[in-house]
Amino acid sequence: MENENVIICRCEEVTFKEICDTLKQYNCSSREVKLRTRAAMGYCGGRSCRSFVDTLVAEFSRRPRADDVQLKYRPPVRPMPFKTLGGE
């Protein structure tokens, strides 16, 4: 595909090129891609892009996908107002 600037993580506006460049340079895990680029770290909790990140990591590392979930789910898994989380 010609357009490498297609957005992969919509919440944090991380592009395909940014993720591929990170993987070329560091050949790292999904978690490290997340920490370096903020992909899958946004509002939706990675619901939209986590599998894209995992796919790219598997492609670049040439390792099969692991059984463990690569990008840990963290509560709250739905956007919540602070009030609901325990404020007054």
Partner: protein
């Protein structure tokens, strides 16, 4: 304290709730949507016997049965976290307060996978399931003229529903070929997967060609080679296996798509690009189990592509290795609604038997067999290797 908490009021959660309540368990169902039924609410398809499967009716039937058993419902309630308290009972955290119960069944269904395509963040681009909900649940047309990107059983089924609802569609085309669309953007691969749904296509020609091609790789190659640019019509909807959308264009919202012709491997044929005016685009990249809560509960996972990706480890009675935690429906792997109902029924019996209110091994055995036979006879197989995927879980 409640005996059984169920997250998800889809066919799996509702069927499980009914089985629990019928066996004397106090049962509570939570769901974040305003209506019970889950993905059933969008479904409308014709069975081989000519009878229509109307998901809205099926959901209503299940809901009425559940209400009659005095199951308590909390709709418009999002579960955002959960914890096991003192190793004894579960507490769910929601936007409407906390709820506790001794056993927990997670039946949260599936989420859609989109496909990143240049321009996919423009307003007017949606997942195919969003278009289904707009048309079938809210009775709103998603736009005046649209196009579907991604050729699979889900997009074909929903495109048909959209046509029935009077929505104008250009057809179903492929996504552009790159790392994130592997297996979904090469006409020869997609053709192969389409063959597994020939029984759904009423056109006899497609049926015969399909069956022959399933057996012979030569015929398959010929068929892809001669596949017409305008596509074959399935249920009146052109499936354009040799056309790809390279970009979705528009300033403030979708105004059109750039399409191009491709060869059997997905290479763009030079000079074939043109712009089609559309005001909405539906993307369909498949489904994956929505297992966030199961993961927070500490359950281990297995990666099984034929079931949609990462699925929670569980046994043939829908019990996970985490004590008091059960799963049913699409969260355990992507299958059709009837399988979800059979799994939910089994999970409900399984939970009841743990409480010793059901000691009927025969009922459990029957429920297990019913899951297997429903799976084998399912009209829609989201993946040709589902049975193999299930073997990897249950042995």
């Amino acid at each position: 304290m409640i005996d059984c908490l169920i997250v998800g009021a889809g066919p799996a959660g509702l069927s499980a709730a009914i089985a629990c309540a019928e066996n004397g368990l106090s049962t509570m169902v939570l769901d974040e949507f305003m209506k019970p039924g889950g993905r059933l609410l969008g479904q409308l398809h014709e069975e081989p016997n000519g009878i229509w499967w109307n998901g809205i009716d099926e959901a209503e039937k299940l809901y009425q049965r559940a209400k009659a058993l005095s199951i308590s419902f909390h709709l418009e309630t999002s579960v955002c976290h959960l914890e096991k308290v003192d190793g004894k009972y579960w507490t769910l955290h929601t936007d409407k307060g906390k709820f506790s119960g001794k056993n927990l069944l997670i039946a949260t269904g599936a989420a859609e996978q989109s496909l990143p395509i240049p321009g996919w963040t423009l307003p007017g681009v949606m997942s195919i399931g969003a278009a289904q909900v707009m048309a079938n649940v809210h009775r709103v047309k998603p736009g005046h003229r649209g196009i579907v990107i991604g050729v699979n059983v889900l997009s074909a089924a929903i495109a048909r529903e959209l046509l029935l609802a009077g929505v104008n569609l250009e057809g179903i085309v492929l996504p552009p070929r790159y790392l994130l669309t592997k297996g979904q953007s090469e006409p020869k691969d997609v053709f192969q997967s389409l063959l597994h749904m020939v029984h759904l296509a009423p056109s006899h020609l497609m049926k015969i060609g399909g069956k022959m091609a399933l057996k012979s790789s030569f015929i398959r190659k010929m068929a892809v080679g001669t596949y017409p640019k305008k596509g074959f019509k399935v249920w009146g909807m052109p499936i354009k296996l040799k056309q790809t959308v390279t970009e979705i264009i528009g300033k403030e919202n979708v105004e059109g798509v750039k399409v191009a012709s491709v060869d059997s491997s997905g290479n763009i044929i030079e000079g074939s690009e043109e712009i089609l005016p559309v005001d909405f685009v539906c993307i369909s990249g498949g489904l994956y189990p929505l297992a966030e809560l199961v993961s927070l509960a500490g359950c281990p996972f297995k990666y099984i592509p034929s079931l949609g990706g990462h699925v929670p480890v569980h046994d043939h009675n829908m019990q996970t290795p985490v004590e008091g935690l059960y799963v049913a429906g699409n969260v355990t792997g992507i299958e059709s609604a009837k399988v979800a109902m059979a799994q939910g029924h089994l999970a409900g019996l399984s939970i009841s038997s743990q409480k010793n209110k059901v000691s009927d091994g025969e009922a459990l055995q029957n429920a297990r067999e019913s899951v297997v036979s429903t799976r084998t006879n399912a009209l829609i197989h989201f993946h040709p290797d589902i049975l193999d995927g299930r073997r990897r879980l249950y042995g």
